[in-house]
Symmetry: C2
Subunit: 217 residues, 2 copies
C-alpha cells in the first residue's frame, strides 16, 4: 500500500520522494515519446523502456494508462496556465486580456512544441475506457478541472460585454471559435514545422479584435 505520506520531505502532495521523482520522470519520458512516435505507438512498454524501467513500474505508480495520460495532460495544462494567467491578469481591459490570452497561448505553443504535439496527439488519439476523448469526458464530468476553467476564454468575452467594450455577441460561440482557431496553430505546426505561430497569433489578435470590438460611430 502506498502510504499517504512517505517520510523524506514533507510537502509535495502526499507522496514519497521516490514516488514523485518517478512519476515526474515517467511523465516527462511519455511526453517526449508521444511527441516523437505518436500516442498510438507510445505503449506502456515503450514508455517504460525509454525511462529505463520495467513496464510494471509504470503501472505501479499509475493505476492504469488512463491515469498516466491524465497526469501528462494535467502537467502540461498547469505549465501553460502558469504562463497565461499572469499575462491576462496584467491587463485591465477586456480587449487587453483577450490579446494577452491569444499572445501568451501562442507563445507557449511556439516554445513548448513537444508538449503541444503531445497534447494534440493525446486529445486526438486517446480514448477513455468509455470510448470518449478527454475533452468529451471532461465536459461530462460534473466538476470541471480548475485549470481548464481558468483557461476558458468565455469569461473574457462576457467581461467585454458587461463593460460595453465589445459589441453584443454570443460569448460561448466566440470562445469556441477562438479556442479552436488557436488550437489550429498546433495542427498547422504538426503539418509544417516552419509555420510562423507567433505571426499567426498576431493575426488572431487582429481578427478577434475586429470581430468583437464595438464599432465607433
Amino acid at each position: 500500500m502506498r502510504s499517504s505520506e512517505g517520510g523524506s520531505s514533507g510537502a509535495g502532495g502526499g507522496r514519497t520522494f521516490t514516488e514523485r521523482a518517478r512519476r515526474a520522470q515517467i511523465v516527462g519520458c511519455a511526453i517526449e515519446l508521444v511527441n516523437e512516435v505518436g500516442f498510438g505507438q507510445a505503449s506502456v512498454a515503450r514508455i517504460a523502456q525509454r525511462a529505463g524501467v520495467a513496464k510494471s513500474v509504470v503501472l505501479y505508480h499509475f493505476a492504469n494508462k488512463e491515469e498516466l495520460v491524465r497526469a501528462i495532460v494535467g502537467d502540461i495544462f498547469v505549465t501553460g496556465a502558469t504562463v497565461m494567467l499572469p499575462a491576462m491578469a496584467a491587463e485591465e481591459t477586456a480587449a487587453g486580456k483577450l490579446a494577452a490570452y491569444i499572445r501568451s497561448n501562442l507563445a507557449f505553443i511556439n516554445s513548448h512544441r513537444p508538449e503541444s504535439f503531445a497534447i494534440l496527439d493525446i486529445m486526438t488519439s486517446f480514448r477513455t475506457q468509455e470510448g470518449l476523448r478527454l475533452d468529451e469526458a471532461a465536459s461530462r464530468e460534473a466538476r470541471p478541472t480548475a485549470e481548464m476553467a481558468n483557461l476558458d476564454p468565455v469569461g473574457i468575452f462576457e467581461l467585454g460585454q458587461r463593460t460595453g467594450e465589445f459589441r453584443p455577441l454570443p460569448a460561448p460561440m466566440l470562445a469556441i471559435a477562438l479556442r479552436t482557431a488557436i488550437d489550429g496553430a498546433v495542427w498547422q505546426l504538426s503539418r509544417d514545422p516552419d509555420f510562423d505561430a507567433l505571426a499567426y497569433g498576431e493575426e488572431l489578435v487582429t481578427i478577434f479584435d475586429l470581430a468583437s470590438r464595438r464599432q465607433e460611430p
Copy 2:
C-alpha cells in the same frame, strides 16, 4: 485478380457491379460504425460483422484498412463538395463566397452528423503506416486531392484581396483560422449534441466579415 472492367454495366470506374455495390455497402457500414462506437473500436472484423460478411471480404475489396479509411474520407468529402461548391459559385463577391462557404459547410455538418463525426474520429484517431494523421499525410503528398484543394478557403481570401473588397491580410492564416473554427463546430457537437451549429455558422459569418472587410472611411 480484379479485372479492369467487369462486364455487366459499362460506366463506373473500372469496377464490377458487385465490387461497386460491396464497396459502397462497406463504406456505409463503416461510417455508421465509426459514428457509433468510434474509430478505435471500428476494427475490420466489426465492420465486416455489421455488413454481414466475413472479415476477409472487406480485405478482398480493400487492400488494407488504410485504403478503406481513405475511401470513407473521400466519399464524405465528395458529398460535402457537392453541396458547397455550387453554393460558392452562385455568389459573385468574395464576401458572398465567404459567407456561402461558411453557411454551406455548417449546413452540411448539421445535416450529416454521422459523416461529420466519422471524419472527426478518423482525422483524430487514424494513423497511416508511417504514423501520420491523414491531414499530415495529405500535406506531404505532392499532388493534393482535387476536392480538398477546392474546399480550401484560401482562394476566397486571395480573391477579396485582388478585388480590394478585403483589407490587406495574410490569406493563408485567415484560411487556417476559418477552417479550424468551422471544424470546431464538429468538436463542440460531439461534446454537446444540442449545440446550435447553424447559429454558430451565422456568428462565424459575422466574425470573418468584420475581420476581413476593408473598413469604410
